[in-house]
Structures are given as C-alpha cells and as structure tokens.
C-alpha cells in the first residue's frame, strides 16, 4: 500500500549511508572508487533483463538487447578494470621505516 513511499525512504537512507561511507575513503583510492561505482552502475542490467523478458514487440526487444549489452560492458569491464587497479595497491613491500 505504502510500497512506493517506503522505497523512497530506502533511497534516502541509502544516500545518507553512502555519504558516510564514501567520506571515509582515502584519496589514494578515489580512482578505483570511481571505476568501482561505474561497475556497480551496471546494475541496470537487471532492468534490461526485465525489459526483454516482458517484451511485447521487436522494438522493445531490441532496445532491451542494446541496453543489456551496454550494461554488461559496464559490469564486466568495470569490475575487471577496478580489480586490475586495486591489484597494484595490494602489497606494499615491507620497508624499514623510521
């Protein structure tokens, strides 16, 4: 009944939570953050699947297909490139510090 309203509240709560979490990420990791969120934005892949499986016409099918390809690029490209980047940060070699 109040479904839509509650979804909006969830949206706002997630924004606030995101704000608190991301504020704490050090500048060192800001580029991986950008490409990582890029990858997550590929979540619209869900929408593409929903469009295709409930498609009523060829046009819709094609639109859904295109958006599926685009969002899959985002997902697979995004996570892979972020992983490539983060791998570099993995192990700072041990050094004798002052």
């Amino acid at each position: 009944m109040n479904d839509e309203l509650y979804l909006i509240l969830i949206f706002i709560m997630a924004m606030l939570l995101g704000y608190e979490l991301i504020k704490k990420i050090p500048p060192t990791l800001h580029t991986p953050l950008m490409s990582g969120t890029n990858a997550i934005s590929g979540i619209v892949i869900i929408g593409s699947i929903l469009v295709i499986t409930s498609a009523s016409s060829l046009t819709v099918n094609i639109l859904g297909f295109i958006s599926l390809v685009l969002s899959s690029i985002n997902v697979f490209g995004g996570f892979t490139v972020t992983d490539r980047m983060l791998e570099m940060f993995k192990k700072p070699k041990k050094r004798d510090k002052d």
């Binding site: 991986p32 699947i49 295709i52 409930s54 295109i66 899959s72 980047m85 983060l86 570099m88």
Partner: protein
Amino acid sequence: MDSIHIILYFISSILFILGIKMLSSPLIARRGNIISFLGMIIAIITTLSYVEYEISSIIYIFSGITTGGILGLIFAKKVQMTSMPQMVAIFNGLGGLASSLIAFSEIIKVNNTISFNLISVSILMSILIGSVTFSGSITGFLKLQSLITGKPILIPLRNYFNLLILLSAIGLMIVSVLYSGNTLIFYTLLGVCLLLGILIVLPIGGADMPVVIALLNSYSGIVAAFTGFIFSNVALIISGSLIGASGLILTRIMTKAMNRSLVNVVLGGFGATATNIDSEASDKNYKSGSSDDIASLLEYSENIIIIPGYGLAVAQAQHSLKELLDVLENQQKNVLFAIHPVAGRMPGHMNVLLAEANIDYELLLDLDQVNEKFSQTDVSIVIGANDVVNPAAKLDKNSPIYGMPILEIEKSKSIVVLKRSMNPGFAGLDNNIFYNEKTLMLFGDAKDSIDSLNKSFKELN
C-alpha cells in the same frame, strides 16, 4: 517478484555497501571489489530466477550478456591506466544510455500512456537524466581524448540557451503526461535531452572535465535509482543512491581542492580567457640544467620530495620513476612523494599511477602532511606538474586558481622541474616558481628525463 527475491536483492545491496566500505583501506579494497561483484552476480541470478522466459528472450539475454561481457573484458584489459578518466567517462555514458533505453522500452510497453505517479515520473526522469548523462559523457570523452578541442567552446548566451532547452525538456515531460499516448513527444524529448547533455559539457574546459565526469558519475547512479523505482527494485534503488552519493562527494572534494564552486564549474568557460599568459613571462629568467647537474645536486641531498603531476601520466614515466626511487633509496636518502588532491586529471590519479609502478603507498603524503615537511627538504623534484605548485594560487588575487591550496615547494632548499617546455599547465597559467633562483629546469619528456637522470646518477657512483 516474491518476498524472497526482495530479500535477495537486499542482500546484494548489502554486499555493494560492504564492498564500498572496504575501499576505505588499500589492504582490503581488492576483496571489497570482489564482494561488490558477488553482489552483482546475486542480483542477476535473482532476476533470472523469477522472470518468465520465451525461447527468444533466452537468446537475447544470453547473447547480450556474452557480447557485453566480452567487450567489457577486452576493454578492461586493454585500457591504459593513464586513460582512466576517459574510461570512466565512457562507462558513465553507457550506463546512462542503458537506463534511458530501459525507460523508453517501458513507455512503449504501456503504449505511451503515462500519468502522474511514481513510475511515470521515474520513466521521464530516467530519460532526461539518462540521455544527458550519455551525451554529456561522450562529449567529455571526446574532449579528454582530444578528438575535439579541450578548450572551452563558448556559444554566446549559452547559459540562457541551455536553460531554455532544460525548460523545454520539462515542458515536454508535462505535455507527455497531459496528452498521453503520443510517441512523437518522447522522441522529441530524447532528442532535446541528448542535445542538452552536449551543450552543457561543450563550454567546460579540459581542466574542469574530471569534475564534470564525477558529476555525471553521480547522475548515472541517480538514473539507476529511478530505474529502480520503475521496477520497484531495491537493488537498483540502493546501489543507485550509493553511486549518486559517491559522485557528489568526489565532485565536492575536487571543487574544494580547486577552491571553485560547482556552479562556477558547470557554468563553464574556465581557462578560456586565462590563456593570455602574462606578457612579461618571456622577459623573466630561468635556469636550465642537464641531467648531470641534477644528479650531482641529488648526490649531496638528504631529504628529497617528489611532486608528480599530469605530465608523469602522459609520459608514462612511472616505472622510470620507481627506478629513480630505488637508486636514491640505495643511497640512504629519504624520498617522499607529495600528492596534491587534484594532481593529474582524476581524483587519486597519481596514486594509481605510482601504485602501478609498485611504489609503496606509505611514501605518498597528502597536502596537509607534506606542506610542513618542505622546510626540511633539500630538493623538491617536480615531475610534469604545474598548477599544483603555482604560488599564484596563494599570492595573486586575480589568478583564476586563487585560493586553491598548493604544495609549497618554494620552502625547500632547491627545486628541480622536469617538463618539456615553459608552456603552462591545464589552467593555462604561467608559473613563477619556474623563474625562482632556487629552481633548475630539466627540459624533455618526463620519461626520457628521468631515464637520463638515472643514467647520470649511476655514472656518478
């Protein structure tokens, strides 16, 4: 969609949250990325588990994911670390386009009949934001890749014009609700929005592009959340808002580090007028040295701070730099790196670059930590940086970068600058530090210069 699917979607959102949270430390960041990926897989499988299939849709889905996946992987393996800004721009664009196509399909499905409710509003907003994100990102990409000029392209009265276009887009949205059922309106809306994205980004100068890209990143999240409202899907809503928040925060960090306001960036034109360099520039004297000179200077120095900038990325000199670091550390010298928050072209750009060369991130100091160290520093080596060490930001009230905090290298005993010429940096400003009597210029591509420095240094020992 049953309760169990909502719960699964929520679990996948929690994994995204956890994944982003783990980006707070380089040690666990990689695992965080894998956790986010897991969240994505769960979301996809959940979706596949409750939709109804026809044989054709199975083919579409399978081939779509495979095609996109392969393209994505190729792209991810090929892209240079220096091209990250462009890559983020493209990915933003793809996300925006995907969302706007989804919204478009939904409109077609309901035979263009929409009314004033959350779903319809979300559809319209998805089209608006999605296509602006798409065309804006692509324009940004073209500029970054220098396929079109990086300079601001200034159409007279552009801000009024853009406002007019935005208003007409909104007008079209209202009309589409009132005279529901008309396809033409939606095509017009799409066209207007695409135009808007291009026009918004065109007047923005190359130096401001990363800010715009972060902003578009934020948009791509918000549009994902709207897609979530269309399908009442919590995974889309939550992850969309996380991305939205992330982009906004990065935008704020950058504008703050440049001492600009977001409005000032978005209104555009920055750097268009600043290119007329101080005419006395050519009269001023600077000293230029050879790599041998600099090697012997370093030989007698104890504390060295290296300031990397955009030029390091362009020259792909990070591996040579690592070699220099090793050589210097072998001589028991203290070498640190000073990372300005907007050095390079992306937030954290330098960090990624140096990490790629396997330089320990514990040697990387940020603005606050490092500025108090310069007074005990023997040599500051500036590599392909310019604006981030420009004292005009502190001294010259009329400078467009006035107020931006800078790395205060003038406090160190001597300064070495590696760049190709006396040309200005991205803000298009002359830099007095190059004419300082403590400063020695070493001209040439950063990689070549560092390599010859390494050679000279080895010959000395």
